[in-house]
Amino acid sequence: MELLEVHGVSKRYRDFQLEDIDFVLPKGYIMGYVGRNGAGKSTTLNLIMNLCKCTAGSIWVDGFSCEEDEARYKEQIGYIGDEFYYSLYFTVKNIREILQNFYPTFDRGRFDELIAQWQLPEKTEFKDFSRGMRVKLMFASVLARETKLLILDEATNGLDPVVRAEVLRLLQDYIADGEHSVLFSTHILSDLEQIADYIFFIDEGKKVLFGAKDELLENYVLVKGERQDVTPALAEEMIGIIDQAYGFEALMESGRAALLARDFLCEKPTIDAIVLHYIQDKTQSGKERAV
């Protein structure tokens, strides 16, 4: 069963275009939406949040589209961005009252439980909260009501390792019953990589790669060695060669890596490495075309 369906979605701005984005996220899974800054990650998430309208295509959450029933559609989504969206002069007490009036499914007991668990002070104004505390508060306000889909837009940026680990745990708890899903965007995966089931890699508004993370990792190898050993035929097979002072590093499809002589070192890549080399590959071929 699909929880989130994004079909042929495009959005045109004067200086940026999101083109034909297409993916589905089944119930009970986590998807990482990755790419560099300005690749179109937030645009996609904003379209899903219905903060702006698609130029083409359609989006469905648990079988509902925003056109059909906007209130129902939006109620199912919990959103956490990298910017704090509450007034800095509010306190936990204020937020509790607001949420209670705003969301029919708001569970006050659950909210208080999370606030207590994370030791968030009741009467401190948010301007005196640390980044970690603010993120926790946003999580508490989203997790205290009934949602089906969590959308995190760069929400883990700038968090210390302890809070990041707590967030990972939260996300895994959220999907554990097989009914809820998470879509998170980030320009650097690091520890989030391990819990992601699917990866969508976007660059300049277009899909570069999309698939199950485990498959993507198996499909590529990271190759290292000396540049002089790279024949032109080999260079053709390599994706995004990055020259370093005493050697090079590139990506290769696993099936093609059998061509390599023993002079090369092969390692399993990370998703961040795959992204880096694909972008390097684009920059290089761009340069060649310019020449």
Binding site: G28, Y29, A176, Q194, I195, A196, A212, D214, K268
Partner: protein, 127 residues
């Protein structure tokens, strides 16, 4: 049950889970008939994706180590079947192949190797 994931290992994570469970089933640390945690539970406990644990379990199932029943979770199958014997035989072959490779690397002949093996066999209590 014990599962330790290494990020430095060249083995993919699903394979690490699979091999470690297999090892513990083969040496009896996980007994036959034992219920394994659900795919989602395991993913949560060790902090990996659901797809990863799904793959580990379906491989173990295909190799005849566990059986998964809808709604009941996965259980460890009895060990005395052909599939497990096959696994043990493969392990023996792997060990012997390593010995042959090592012999080749330092120029020991097949005859000498057989002699070494014969000697070892005589001094062991294998009959």
């Amino acid at each position: 049950m014990r599962i330790i994931i290494s990020n430095r290992s060249e083995l993919p994570i699903y394979a690490q889970i699979k091999e470690q469970l297999k090892e513990q089933i083969l040496n009896g640390q996980i007994e036959e008939g034992a219920a394994l945690p659900s795919i989602r539970q395991l993913a949560k406990e060790i902090g990996v994706s659901v797809i990863t644990t799904t793959r580990a379990y379906s491989d173990l199932e295909a190799e005849g180590f566990i059986a998964t029943m809808q709604g009941k979770g996965s259980v460890v199958l009895p060990k005395d079947n052909g599939v497990v014997r096959e696994q043990y035989l493969m392990r023996i072959e792997e060990g012997l192949t390593t010995a042959i490779e090592t012999a080749r690397a330092i120029g020991i002949s097949g005859e000498e190797l057989t002699e070494i093996f014969g000697n070892l066999l005589r001094t062991s209590d294998l009959n």
